[in-house]
């Protein structure tokens, strides 16, 4: 089968905070609430742990969609980690749009540990959104070898493309 014939199966990553969103995903499992397998969870102690460069690098790796899933606002186990994350997601979203990617590919969601059903719904919704958007051009370019794998010329950070662009604009992190 050639690439053109293969139906598009998006690759989605979800950064989930251990205390709430990850537990919600577990509950979706316990309750056997199905969602598409395109979503892959990466567990973090808090969504506040993830920085803008990591969000952008995930896109550079070729991800088609990225969820950052934290506790409900005001319910962060580390007081305000989810609010920090929200700011970074908003910021990274602007970056994506600047380079021509759809902002919907990156989304922050907030869940409590009891919201298994909502996790499954949001995962399904995200998969549908990404399917309608199609594959991320960054993934396609990476697959075609167009994205260099060497580090950023400016700082040596191993996230070359977006980071370089950020350095060019002078506002880095």
């Amino acid at each position: 089968m050639t690439a053109a014939e293969t139906p598009f199966e998006p690759k989605i990553v979800a950064f989930c905070c251990r205390h709430c969103a990850y537990a919600a995903a577990d509950l979706a499992g316990t309750s056997r609430l199905a969602y598409p397998p395109s979503l892959n969870i990466v567990e973090l102690p808090c969504t506040g742990r993830v920085d803008v460069l990591e969000l952008l690098r995930t896109f550079e790796d070729g991800v088609d969609g990225l969820l950052v899933a934290g506790c409900l606002p005001g319910r962060c186990h580390y007081l305000a980690g989810n609010l920090h994350a929200r700011q970074r997601v908003d910021y990274a979203q602007r970056w994506l749009e600047d380079i021509g990617l759809e902002g919907e590919r990156l989304r922050m969601i907030n869940l409590s540990a009891a919201m298994g059903a909502q996790f499954a719904e949001l995962a399904t919704e995200m998969a549908e959104t990404i399917k309608s958007l199609g594959p991320s051009p960054l993934g396609t370019r990476r697959a075609a070898g167009e994205i260099p794998t060497t580090g950023c010329a400016a700082c040596g950070d191993p996230a070359p493309l977006l980071a370089e662009s950020a350095h060019d604009r002078g506002d880095g992190r």
């Binding site: 709430c20 577990d26 009891a114 909502q118």
Partner: protein, 1541 residues
């Protein structure tokens, strides 16, 4: 401290019993276990969590209850020193404080806790559905269940009421409820299997059983019993309609050969059982086909031969050697042939001839012989030794009226007899045959004559029978031998003419093959004599069973006897004890009429009569033997199965046993009782919500859309029955208009107390309903809004002002349902005061009728009957409502030394306050048992850690099947194969259950053998299982951080089950985990020694109590007080609530009288002075604290400027800096000597007024105003109680004095409600004012006071001119509290009180570890509450102080100082103040001063790492490389070649 008098007993047992696994019990357990005591946590249910686990959100923060409780559940479940005893109850407690023996009974759970891994297969296959009690009956669950998904222990349980009556009635113990339930789910094969568990003849018994089960069926109490045999037949027929799979021959295990004589139902049952047991079995049958009476005694129209043949064949195919046409001539021959045991199951085939004259004439036939000949003739030439009886066209007379007689008569009809009659003696007054069969016989034209005495058979003159001469019988009398003797009607002799007479008056055993010298005895009833327990005859090794020992009986008895004798033969051959005591077994689960009526009322059962059994028409029966009953259609069978009431709950269908992959299910489990040695007991049994169906006026149970608050909570919960969508039970519609009715089961005729939580949870539920559905209108009907604690008033105001929730101050007058819509009509009085002082918008008062979509009853708290019983058994003093009475000034101590009561068991209260009490009880127990501390606890020991530095990654991967949870969906072998191909992986294997005890040991061994240095477990979720697996690799000498889990169950097999990509997803998850594992590094932890002393700041009641509690536990304390004397606010407190006579606390005074607060103060001061471990620093302030938990240093500065500051070091701090009474100028305070505060008023009442002591003559009229100044914004909790207490005291001293209290809401929660009642009874007037319409105070020049207020009842303003105006001013944070907060950088709330780490679950902790708060610095408190709060703080502090060292490091952030530019971002970001700039570190470019993170303070959230602009900070275990390795791996080529094992 007070009461127990056991302090420091060196012989005390270092273990505590905690009863109740709710949040309070959990907290007490954790505090005790962390403080060095072994804990036995006894919980009645199958899991801990209590009511809190059911809640959706908690007020006043709307935190998700599950988010907050679930980490605690895991902590309790895994704590090495907490032994969980679920399903258990305390039966008794003997001994004395410090040395108790508790008797604990554990009910069978039917699932082994040690084996169950919570996979849930049992619940998946369980066919029994019941209303889910966890969802308050709104959802459904199975009989095999886990209380809720996050339950601890993470194990299932089976709910069994007992043996269903149907099963109990059946001689063979057929699990009828089981197969009916399976049928109901359309699971024919399993239903068939369930029948076969007890009975090898489903099709046979489905037709001809006498079904005693139906007589016993509880459904008969509703309408008619379930047609159980009809359902059994349906299942058998449906199963047989499928292509037959020949049974696998049973494997041989034994050599002893067994001979069975007779292939009837009994012989065949034994043959089956013994063959399955593993014996070679030979069955000898004289007739040419097997089946015995089933085949030769029952005609085809009742039981088709094909069914018998099929069921016989299924037994034969197991490997039974069936020898047909082989009569046994001699038992000796069989024994000579080497059979180790012989069973005689020859049945009762010999018919009986009536002993009357002419009884042996020609033309007389015998029943059994007649039926057998008909059958043999059908078999055709080969087997037909006997011709078919020729009766065509003849007159047939059947003598006898049993089932066989009816069969004979009906057979005769089918053979073409000209006329068939039955002559029946009928000594029982009627025919003994089954009614339904008699009716059918009549339909077929058979005439019956009952009540005859048979005289002789009439000879036709040629030696042939021509008729039967009979007499009519008037009645029967019983002679001395018990036989029925007929009294005949004189001259009633007559002859019944007949060509053929068939005798059918009984059958007996054919014993011809047993010669007299065979050594086998025979009874007088001509049956074979056996030992009734062992079924052995007089001759060893020779057994008998079935009709041959009992005489004629039903098939099911033959089956039952067969099972028993098979067991006996097996025991005989194995040399086991022959007489075994049968276990008592569970009780019969008969539903009482009361239970049935209750279920009818709730609508769980509806009337539905038995589904009629279809049958062929009478016209179609003649001349053929076609089966008459047609059997149910599928639809009919389902309808009939639905009628089963599932009496036993679990039906023991054993489907779960088959499904369980770890052999955890044991239906034979029995109740057990153990005795536990403990030093103290803490009782936290919790509350029972008021059963609002008892208040019939609210319609709960009758009107579906009236729900209780707990039901509503489940409807709101995302994990509830509606997934968090609020729906009306009647029609699933989203309610748009909801009424909340407060005080249901509180503050009423039968409950003279306030349940303290309902106002707030009602408000919360109204808010959440609106959050879910913003269009919702919510109206709360209440008396007072009791928003009395921290943040509650603001919460209530937000509900009212922001969410638009309407609060209506009244009880409704009526509630009715509109049957057409299910809406609820409420009638109530709507009263609105004027908007300002009677001049603006006028007041309103009208009766309104209003419809609501849904009504929520805010039910109050009660103590359950079971808990009252327990209290009585334990010898505790309880009040009239069953609440536990506790000691004055020691509020968690019961009347029995060493036994503590916490939570709603002693007074209704919310989560936070229950937790505080739990801590207080833990502290008290610890103080009493200090000699036993650490004597019964254990610390886990681990292997020495292997240094893996410098090694390349060597990853071992274990992929778990989780039974079929993963393995049934994901190609686990494929995933393991694939895992082997990943870089760095040295080993990958499958595991059936990775978390089973065996597997855990195996993982340790494999890791050692392979010298693996990273481990990945692909299984379930790390949230529950990571610590377990980490322990397994620690046992192998690996650092626990060299571990990673891939969650291929919860996040793969369970959610993508039907997706073809599921295995690829599992591979991707494993690939990602392996990639991260390659990046993992061992993390070091440090042990920092703990300084075992405490600093307590504040010398009031709370500070002194905390200091004494810690000293009782042998910890030295520095008690710092700013003023020159200890005592604080307690010095101003003269009367306790106890003095009002409304308290339930037990008096401490020697004469049985309540002591005053000043007595308590003196007692505290005395104890402080006497305690050498408490160092008091009066006139001293804390000017600063440095360090971290376990290692603080504080600078203490005397207020005397002459004295130099000094330092003390301490492991923990408790801040008890208190609050003060507000003194502002509101309502003219300060402008007149006639205006005082409550504290001043109390002093006057106590006769201790300062300046104006001589004019302290009691006033003749007093007005009190509540909610003064800051209390308009927050409720200071104590003012209502203080006002009522003082008002009552005044009334006692001066009954004539008029007292008027102007209030907004009277907030006397819990038992303090009684003060309110007492005050009204003593004539105190209450006038409510609204915040829009406050009282006005005018002070005349002479100081005389006038108060104007709106009076609702009169509908106008009133003016009062009291002698004294008392202002209930609130408690506000003391200056010391605010100052200390600033100095120590501790957070305070909007009102200036200290802010706890979590308002519900950590009510005495600051966010900074090792720092705690106590007393009014946290929030205004009554004296009891301050004492309890201080004790709770002491418990938390003691848990730290009792450690030798605390562990730091591990998952913490670390700074690469060479990249640090000292921008301070980390300092600003860190929520815990863990980041600081260290002057001795050099940052980027060697500039002095760089950030560092104190690992003892770091909680590992990583916020700083993400925020650091220089990228100088990494969070260990979640470094950039480790996190991104996972993301990168997702995009690595998945098509790596798979490597076989």
């Amino acid at each position: 401290m007070t009461g127990d008098g056991q302090s420091g007993d060196a012989k005390a047992v270092g273990a505590v019993l905690v009863l109740g696994g709710g949040i309070a019990g959990m907290q007490a357990s954790l505090d005790l276990a962390n403080g060095g005591y072994k804990v036995y946590l006894v919980e009645k249910k199958s899991a801990i969590g209590g009511h809190m686990a059911k809640l959706d959100k908690t007020f006043p923060t709307n935190d998700c209850a599950m988010c907050t409780i679930s980490p605690r559940l895991v902590e309790v479940g895994r704590h090495p020193n907490i032994e969980l005893l679920p399903d258990s109850e305390v039966l008794g407690l003997e001994g004395k404080a410090g040395d108790f023996t508790a008797t604990v009974r554990t009910r069978p759970r039917y699932i082994d806790l040690d084996r169950c891994n919570g996979c849930g297969k049992c619940a998946e296959v369980c066919p029994e559905r019941l209303p889910n009690p966890f969802d308050e009956g709104l959802g459904e669950r199975r009989a095999a269940y886990k209380l809720y998904p996050q339950a601890t222990p993470d194990a299932f349980a089976i709910e069994k009421r007992g043996v269903a009556p149907c099963r109990d009635a059946c001689p063979a113990g057929q699990r009828a409820q089981g197969y009916i339930s399976l049928l109901r789910e359309g699971r024919i094969d399993e239903a068939y299997r369930a029948i076969k568990e007890d009975n090898p003849f489903p099709g046979i018994c489905g037709r001809i059983c006498d079904h005693r089960c139906e007589t016993a069926c509880s459904r008969g109490k509703v309408d008619e019993p379930v047609n159980i045999h009809g359902l059994k037949r349906f299942i058998a027929d449906a199963f047989y309609a499928k292509p037959r799979a020949k049974p696998e021959p049973a494997p041989r295990r034994y050599d002893e050969r067994i001979a069975i004589i007779g292939a009837g139902p009994c012989g065949l049952t034994v043959a089956q059982d013994l063959c399955l047991e593993g014996y070679p079995v030979t069955v000898f049958e004289a007739l040419p086909v097997a089946g015995g009476m089933l085949r030769f005694g029952v005609p085809d129209f009742r039981l088709p031969a094909a069914i018998v043949d099929r069921e016989v064949q299924d037994i034969v195919d197991l490997g039974v050697d069936l020898r047909l046409g082989t009569p046994v001539e001699s038992l000796d021959d069989l024994l000579d042939e080497g059979y180790a045991a012989v069973l005689m199951a020859v049945g009762a085939h010999e018919g009986i001839r009536l002993p009357i004259p002419g009884g042996d004439l020609d033309g007389i036939l015998i029943n059994t012989r007649f039926l057998r000949d008909v059958r043999l003739a059908e078999l055709g030439a080969e087997g037909a030794r006997d011709p078919r009886p020729d009766i065509e066209g003849k007159r047939v007379l059947v003598v006898g009226g049993g089932d066989v007689a009816v069969d004979v008569a009906r057979t005769a009809v089918r053979l073409g007899a000209g006329d068939v009659q039955m002559a029946v003696r009928g000594s029982g007054g009627k025919m003994p045959a089954k009614e339904s069969e008699i009716a059918r016989a009549r339909e077929e034209g058979i005439r019956m004559h009952v009540g005859l005495n048979f005289l002789r058979v009439v000879d036709d003159g040629h030696g042939r029978a021509a008729g039967l001469e009979c007499q009519r019988v008037e009645r029967f009398e019983t002679d001395e031998t018990g036989r029925a003797v007929p009294l005949t009607v004189p001259d009633s002799e007559h002859v019944m003419a007949a060509d053929v007479i068939v005798f059918s008056v009984g059958q007996r055993v054919g014993l011809a093959f047993i010669p007299d010298d065979a050594g086998v005895g025979v009874t007088r009833a001509r049956t074979i004599a056996v030992d009734p327990d062992t079924f052995m005859t007089d001759r060893p090794g020779i057994f008998a069973a079935g009709d041959s020992i009992s005489g004629t009986a039903f098939v099911i008895e033959a089956v039952a006897g067969g099972h028993r004798v098979a067991g006996a033969i097996h025991r005989h051959l194995r040399g086991e004890a022959m007489k075994t005591a049968r276990p008592a077994g569970p009780p019969v689960a008969e539903l009482s009429q009361k239970e049935i009526d209750a279920r009818l009322l709730k609508g769980e059962i509806g009337y539905a009569p038995q589904t009629p059994m279809p049958e062929i028409a009478v016209a179609d029966r003649a001349g053929n033997f076609t089966e008459i009953e047609l059997g149910y259609s599928e639809q009919q069978a389902m309808a009939e199965a639905e009628r089963c009431l599932s009496c036993g709950i679990c039906s023991e269908c054993l489907t779960c046993v088959e499904a369980c992959g770890v052999d955890a299910i044991d239906h034979e489990m029995e109740e057990s009782t153990r005795r536990i040695h403990v030093g103290a007991a803490i009782l936290a049994p919790g509350f029972q919500p008021y059963r609002a169906e008892l208040s019939e006026e609210f319609g709960l149970g009758r009107y579906p859309n009236v729900v209780t608050s707990l039901q509503f909570e489940r409807l709101l919960s995302a994990s509830g029955p509606t997934n968090g969508h609020v729906k009306r039970p009647s029609d699933d519609r989203t309610p748009k208009k909801i009424a909340f009715l407060q005080c249901v089961g509180s503050r009423d005729q039968t409950h003279d107390y306030c349940s303290a939580v309902c106002c707030m949870y009602g408000t919360k539920q109204a808010i959440m309903a609106i959050e879910h559905e913003p269009e919702t209108q919510a109206q709360v009907f209440m008396m007072d809004v009791r928003a009395f604690s921290k943040g509650y008033e603001a919460y209530y105001r937000r509900a009212r002002d922001k969410y638009g929730i309407e609060y209506t101050r009244c009880r409704i007058s009526s509630l009715k349902e509109d049957p057409a819509t299910g809406d609820l009509m409420l009638r109530y009085v709507d009263r609105t005061p004027p908007s300002s002082g009677g001049e603006g918008v006028p007041a309103r008062s009208e009766v309104r009728d209003e419809a609501f979509d849904m009504v929520v009853l805010s039910v109050g708290m009660e103590v359950s009957e079971g808990v009252r019983d327990l209290g009585r058994k334990l010898g505790l003093e309880l009040d009239d409502h069953g609440f536990c009475r506790t000691l004055q000034f020691d509020p968690v101590h019961t009347s029995r030394p060493g036994v503590y009561a916490v939570g709603p068991f002693r007074e209704p209260k919310d989560i936070a306050e229950s937790l505080i009490e739990a801590g207080a009880a833990a502290a008290s127990a610890e103080g009493m048992l200090v000699g036993g501390r650490g004597t019964l606890t254990r610390a886990p020991a681990y292997a020495a850690e292997r240094d893996v530095a410098g090694e390349d990654p060597k990853i071992a991967i274990f992929v778990c099947h989780c039974g079929t949870n993963i393995g049934g969906v994901v190609d686990v072998p494929g995933v393991a194969c694939y895992a082997r191909s990943l870089p760095g992986v040295v080993h990958a294997e499958e595991s059936l259950y990775a978390c089973s005890k065996d597997s855990i040991g195996h993982i340790t061994e494999r890791v050692k053998e392979l010298e693996a240095n990273r481990v990945v477990i692909a299984a379930c979720t790390p949230l529950t299982h990571e610590p377990l697996f980490q322990d397994s690799i620690r046992a192998a000498g690996l650092n626990p951080y060299l571990f990673e889990m891939a969650n291929i169950r919860n996040q793969c097999s369970w959610v993508h089950g039907r997706d073809p990509a599921v295995t690829e997803k599992a591979k991707a998850l494993v690939r990602m985990s392996a990639a991260r594992a390659r990046q993992l590094a061992p993390l070091e932890t440090d042990k920092v020694p703990v300084g075992h002393s405490a600093l307590v700041v504040g010398g009031g009641a709370a500070g002194m109590t905390a200091a004494l509690e810690l000293a009782a536990q042998n910890f030295p304390v520095h008690l710092v007080e700013k003023s020159d004397a200890l005592g604080g606010n307690l010095r101003q407190l003269h009367f306790g609530i106890d003095d009002s006579g409304t308290s339930t606390s037990l008096p401490l005074g020697a004469d049985g009288r309540h002591l005053g607060p000043q007595d308590f103060l003196r007692q505290l001061l005395g104890e402080i002075e006497a305690n050498p471990l408490v160092t008091v620093h009066l006139g001293t302030e804390v000017s600063g604290t440095a360090g971290f938990v376990g290692n603080f240093t504080s600078t203490l500065r005397p207020t005397d400027p002459e004295a130099p500051p000094f330092e003390v070091s301490h492991g923990v701090s408790i801040l008890a800096t208190g609050g003060v009474e507000y003194r502002g100028d509101e309502y003219g305070y300060g402008a007149s000597s006639h205006i005082v505060t409550q504290q001043e008023f109390e002093a006057r009442l106590a006769g201790q007024g300062d300046a104006g002591a001589e004019e302290a003559a009691l006033p003749r009229s007093v007005v009190m105003i509540q909610c003064v100044g800051p209390a308009e914004k927050y409720c200071a909790r104590v003012c209502c109680t203080s006002a009522l207490k003082n008002a009552l005291m005044l009334k006692r001293l001066s009954p004539e004095t008029r007292v008027t209290i102007l209030y907004r809401d009277i907030r006397v929660y819990g038992f303090k409600e009684r003060l309110y009642t007492a005050a009204r009874e003593s004539g105190v007037l209450f006038v409510r004012y609204d915040e829009t319409c406050k009282p006005e105070v005018r002070v005349a020049e002479d100081g005389v006071v006038a108060v104007k207020a709106w009076e609702e009842g009169l509908g106008r303003d009133i003016v009062l001119r009291p002698d004294l105006l008392v202002l209930s001013t609130p408690v506000v944070p003391s200056a010391a509290t605010q100052e200390l907060g600033r100095r120590l950088r501790l957070p305070t709330d909007a009102d200036g009180f200290f802010l706890e780490a979590h308002i519900k679950l950590r009510p005495v902790d600051f966010l900074s570890e090792g720092v705690f708060m106590a007393g009014m610095a946290h929030y205004p408190k009554l004296l009891d509450e301050a004492i309890v709060h201080a004790k709770a703080a002491a418990a938390r502090a003691a848990a730290l102080l009792s450690q030798d060292a605390i562990t730091t490091g591990g998952r913490v952030a670390a700074v690469d100082h060479t990249r640090c530019v000292a921008c301070l971002t980390c300092l600003r970001t860190c929520p815990y103040g863990a980041a600081r700039i260290a002057a001795d570190l050099a940052g980027t470019g060697g500039i002095a001063g760089a950030a560092t993170i104190e690992s003892a303070l770091c909680r590992g959230c990583g916020l700083c790492a993400a925020a650091c602009p220089a990228g100088a900070i990494e969070l260990k275990h979640y470094t950039g490389a480790q996190v991104m390795a996972k993301v990168d791996a997702l995009f690595e080529d998945a098509r790596v070649e798979e490597v076989p094992a």
